[in-house]
Symmetry: C2
Subunit: 419 residues, 2 copies
């Protein structure tokens, strides 16, 4: 799309964001249920479109231009379709994150301040070959009253178009739902345009691999919600229980090795009594062990694990704060004091004691939905639920009050919290 | 400073940020009281340093290379010194924003998730000729357990150095307070270095005029907390009370015209009954009125006010959402329904009904301290208190729990909130 056309589209999305900001919870939920139904009714069409993408992808896999795992992620089957539809219904059942009164304070008699949650505005979503992202993100955006511009991977273009058609069909018949809330774009130039339009796009959410996220973070001034790396650590303290250490590390490394919350490096206290038993148990679970300094920086996303012996708890903390990507770290210890020091001193989104790093997940935390996992130090950190798609504004209700009276001492503030 | 030296300094600040993250409220408050005392004890030295800056500034004012208002802001007198010291003591009396439990949830028996407030890390502060900023920001950073790199205006370099010496003297004698929490840099290159070191600096806070803030926002990938423009609007609705409209607009324009929350444009409903009375009252208050479209974009910071007649509430809302900088807007109306529509539809940090826009201020809101005013759509918006210098992390305490058991259905989550 040409830059000017994209600009028009971005302006329309901005205008739509003001409209969806004011519609009722009922209309939003009705829209979500209509989408779920429309996707169900159009599932044959969607499967056909997906088959077209898969046929083209198969040729690329044969030519070794596409990995088998990308092909697998691309494939929609009955199970994924059912989960996709149920996911939308689940979001319709969540509490509306918009319009919550976060603070209500009497500044003076008849002068009342309210801090109210509101949508961020326009989200830019850039995702790779998973076509189920499109319905999930659309549903999250609608529930949180944000407009969205979506750019999916080219491998799933037919599936994405087909799902978006079903969504738009549902929105068109939802009374009171504004136009232009959801827009899909397709080209590489559109990504470039999206990243440059900080006047119209308020937040970028990348859903994909490290290199996509890194590229986006390097090329935009718009806030980006996400994480590039997931270099998670487990520290086996002097007093660690051997069985817990085994269980936790094996789970964190093998239960789903390509997940961002999988462990990449374990640090073992030099006075831990069973180092060889531990390492042997890991190898017996098909984990390849590596002990070179080059590995401290690496996210293997595979059954490969770096390990290092450390002199002390302090050295473990320093190593983690130096090499971690700020995602999730865990200490295995029976010493509560050490656990406390570890949890206070580590600067990561998740800091755990005696549990697997794999728990870092919005659903496991009970958020009901997950927008993504953030390693940012502002706005939202860790697994992000619907709340991460909101901000707030301050409303002030009065009866002709002016600042002069307070500056001159004729009136004074009482600052009495009402909520 | 050379880039390599700045890098060393930034690394030291990062290391210091990990240390200050774990010290007690008592040590932080003791440090603040020591700073207040040290500034008091060193006030003669500080006045002398300020005189040196003022002598040099005077020459620049005579050469018309510096404005009289900058000169006035630069000048420290007994009153400003007293306010500066009291400001630090006030911050020591505020609640500690760190270590607050924001959520505590049992995910399963013996598996407890806590969301705990924590510092952001390293703040980069870039400020212009007001030397009182240095003690205020230092105090806010200490209270919120962040490290800071400060770069002040060159006009106040002697005053800044002298205040920082008093601060460092106080910190050195505060038992348990880590080194390198506060660092001051001086050159233009240091600003460039600061803006480029997104690996070490987590948040930039500019304190100064529009052009400084715009320059910073254009030249860094680090999140910036602040506002470039303050183009605030007041809409005089059809049913507005004439006297309230006069009072509110005169206050919002004349009480402190160079403040960012001063009004720049008023919109008047075409059916408002007293337009000429209103405009005459404004002119009688020495307000210069302008009615050209070029003025919609302008922040005059002076007793100049743009005005425009609109056909409807909707047109007023559209105009504001198009031209506002997202700071603060107010509607003057006796029609509660219109007030509600306005407050819901306007996408600004502050949306008011029948009050002056000048109320947009952290102290007036009762925050006890103000870090600045933000027009961002993420993290912190509107007047920002100490809370804006914090983020959170998730702690998870368990007893050997692994994700495999939950995925395979051997165990299940209960998600019971404990706080």
């Amino acid at each position: 799309m040409e830059e000017n056309n994209f600009l028009d589209l971005a302006k329309k999305a901005k205008a739509a964001s003001k409209k969806i900001a004011t519609i009722s919870t009922e209309i939003k939920n009705k829209a979500l249920l209509n989408i779920a139904e429309s996707i169900k009714n159009n599932s044959n069409k969607i499967f056909e479109a997906n088959k077209k993408d898969l046929d083209e992808a198969k040729i690329l896999v044969e030519k070794k231009e596409l990995s088998q795992s990308t092909y697998n992620r691309l494939k929609l089957d009955e199970n994924k379709m059912r989960d996709m539809i149920q996911g939308i219904i689940d979001i319709s059942n969540l509490e509306d994150p918009i319009g919550k009164v976060l603070l209500k304070r009497e500044l003076d008699k008849d002068l009342v301040l309210s801090k109210v949650s509101c949508p961020i505005g326009v989200l830019g979503i850039i995702f790779e070959a998973r076509p189920d992202v499109i319905s999930q993100i659309s549903a999250l955006a609608i529930k949180s009253s944000n407009a969205v511009i979506l750019k999916g991977g080219k491998e799933s273009i037919n599936t994405n178009k087909s799902i978006m058609e079903a969504i738009q069909e549902a929105l068109a018949k939802t009374e009171g739902f504004p136009n232009d809330v959801l827009t899909q774009v397709f080209s590489r130039d559109d990504v470039k345009n999206m990243l440059s339009m900080d006047k119209y796009i308020d937040l970028i959410i990348p859903r994909g691999g490290n290199s996509l996220v890194k590229f986006i973070k390097e090329n935009t001034k718009i806030p980006v919600l996400g994480h590039a790396d997931g270099i998670c650590h487990i520290f086996v303290d002097e007093s660690a229980d051997l069985e817990k250490a085994k269980r936790i590390i094996i789970d964190a490394k093998t239960q789903y090795p390509s997940a961002c919350n999988s462990v990449e490096t374990i640090l073992i206290h030099k006075d831990f009594k069973y180092p060889s038993e531990l390492l042997k148990a890991l190898e017996d679970s098909d984990i390849e062990l590596i002990a070179t300094p080059e590995s401290w920086h690496k996210e293997y996303s595979d059954k490969i694990l770096a390990y290092k012996f450390v002199e002390s708890l302090d050295e473990a903390i320093e190593h983690i704060n130096e090499y971690s990507s700020g995602h999730t770290e865990s200490i295995v210890t029976e010493n509560k004091e050490n656990a406390k020091i570890f949890m206070n001193s580590i600067d990561s989104a998740g800091v755990y004691h005696n549990v697997s790093t794999r728990f870092a997940d919005g659903f496991r935390y009970g958020f009901g939905a997950e927008v993504g996992i953030s390693t940012n130090k502002t706005h939202a950190r860790g697994p992000v639920g619907l709340e991460g798609l909101t901000i707030y504004k301050y409303n002030l209700e009065g009866n002709g009050e002016i600042v002069k009276d307070y500056v001159e001492g004729k009136k004074s503030f009482c600052h009495k919290d009402l909520v």
